[in-house]
Symmetry: C2
Subunit: 356 residues, 2 copies
């Protein structure tokens, strides 16, 4: 097991990563003045473990799925906390995937102007990404993560214990973000290449989870509040991925990130900022997770949804594109240019299928 | 005019305090990518000034009064910001009293996980207290400020320009908090005593506003997130004052703070931690604002509302009582003790009226 710290100007988080972390640390870190938020999927499987580990601690179960990430669920949680007479010394435990982490984390940031938060991510995606770094949010007025807070957890417990019961779709979702880390970090990139056949092996995953967290810690330490450009790199693939996810919404988030990255990689190639063997290799990594990159028909309608992306400024769409091993770059495009580029990319993907 | 900074671990606020601050700094600090929140009272009087100063900046007008400090108004503001296509580089301007500062500040903290906030307090209370220090909140589930954030404004512009149109009730409200600062700061205490006849004089107020802000800056710098006890001192009078305010709710917040402080001062006297000439002098200062301290009949019912106070821990009621010039102390009481003490205090006040 590995224990690491993130030291930020105003707070410190400790990450406990590895097999046995839950059993060894959860009870002791959380204490008795706590409130657990989880979702219906997790509770179905782990009710016994939760109730035996945290005896007589209130457990609030939200419906599983992104649709719970709304203001109604948020205020239901806050109301339940008030009904349980919790005070400002209490600890909110987010035990679940990204949705639970986002909404319980946001609730913790608001309750009595902020109480202690412990993230216990149970999905691969949440373990490598959302549980670390303090981003919390709900979706509001049709805009993903439009309302939220930067709120650092006191501790993160990332234990592969929970990965054993993860549906394949969720595993692919997490792998999507892991391959994204490959585009940002040469060591992760190489490790992924060497293990391209082991993507569903739990012991490989446990080791790559720590690498991804370590990379994220570095980024978050350099740019906690996403203001100086460093943290933006974590959004590689996300501008286009989010837009497709919002418009089509069938696959998992991580797969859309990779589909977005694939389209954005083609844009980078066309603009001459990514060349040689690298784009072909990165495409292989992407296709190890997303077997077939979709060719979308309504690309201009989907692209409209990228207009609300938080990275955008001055009316320009911002995309973070891969340029070489471990390196990405920001490209800013007008909406018209962006749509044209996406249409070219779709055509190119279509052509490659017709050729093969 | 005076310009001061608050330097906190994660942010910096600049305070512009004095006559002319609005005219000189508001437009330049706020820029063009902004969203103004104000209330119906302010907008009735200052619509022209606002629209001429901030040309073509959207203005969102909430109903004046504490009842607007709820989640519905909060999300209406956030929705309006999305409808105006504001991005994460925008600036939210809270132009109004404490309610506007609280709700617009909280909205700024949440929108896209936090955008720039400028406080332009228009009431005496907001100028000396709520606009400085970063506390924002809404009332939820019957509990005052139960949901909120610590969110530092980028700038505060405190200009007595707005005080000229302030109703007497609002002036008394601000004076309530100013006299509270007197209990915390010997220099303010002495200045108040010397000016006990000038409490409604605008030029006296302009000078004491700066002293109060300076005191608050010192406290907030030592304890931004209200965790080590320093910031708690600002809540002198508030535990009991809040409870009375929630239960009776006729007078202004600042007057309830002083009524609370009066009751808590009697508790301190009875417990032997405040004695000599000081309590009598402080009572004189309090009564220069609240002419007659009420004797409440339903004190035990009102006291129940103190059970939700955020300072409480381990089931004990926490009150911050005056002990000597410029010094306060925390006293923790069980609910039963607290009710008994309040009943004694009420009896004592009743007796003093019968004697005189």
């Amino acid at each position: 097991m590995k224990i690491t710290e993130i030291n930020l100007s105003s707070s410190k988080s400790v990450i406990y990563c590895g097999v046995g972390a839950f059993e060894k640390y959860a009870k002791q870190l959380i204490g008795t003045n706590a409130f657990i938020v989880t979702d219906s999927n997790i509770y179905k499987i782990y009710a016994k473990l939760i109730n035996e580990t945290f005896v007589s601690t209130p457990v609030y179960v939200i419906s599983a799925g992104e649709k719970s990430k709304n203001k109604k669920t948020l205020f239901n949680i806050l109301q339940a906390m008030l009904e349980h007479n919790l005070d400002r010394d209490c600890c909110v435990v987010a035990l679940g995937g990204g949705v639970v982490g986002d909404i319980a984390g946001f609730a913790a940031s608001m309750f009595m102007r902020g109480v202690k938060l412990i993230q216990i991510p149970t999905t691969l995606l949440a373990q490598v990404d959302s549980s670390v770094g303090g981003k919390t949010a709900i979706d509001f007025y049709g805009v993903k993560n439009s309302v939220g807070a930067f709120y650092q957890p006191f501790a993160v417990i990332a234990d592969s214990l929970f990965l054993k019961t993860l549906p394949v779709r969720e595993l692919r979702c997490g792998l999507g973000e892991i391959v994204k880390y490959g585009a940002l970090d040469k060591d992760i990139y190489n490790k992924l290449f060497e293990n391209i056949k082991n993507f569903s092996d739990i012991s490989f995953l446990q080791s790559i989870i720590f690498d991804c967290i370590a990379h994220k810690i570095e980024v978050v330490s350099a740019d906690e509040r996403d203001v100086n450009g460093v943290r933006k790199t974590l959004n590689a693939g996300h501008t286009t991925g989010h837009a497709f996810e919002l418009f089509y919404g069938r696959k998992s988030h991580g797969e859309y990130v990779l589909i977005g990255m694939y389209y954005e990689l083609l844009i980078a190639e066309r603009r001459g900022i990514c060349w040689g063997q690298y784009p072909e290799n990165l495409k292989k990594l992407i296709c190890a997770v997303v077997k077939k990159i979709p060719v979308y028909a309504d690309i201009n309608k989907a692209a409209i949804l990228a207009l609300h992306d938080k990275k955008n400024t001055e009316g320009l769409i911002s995309i973070i594109v891969p340029v070489s091993e471990g390196r990405v770059e920001e490209v800013k495009l007008s909406f018209e240019e962006y749509v044209k580029e996406l249409e070219y990319a779709a055509m190119e993907i279509q052509n490659s299928y017709e050729k093969s």
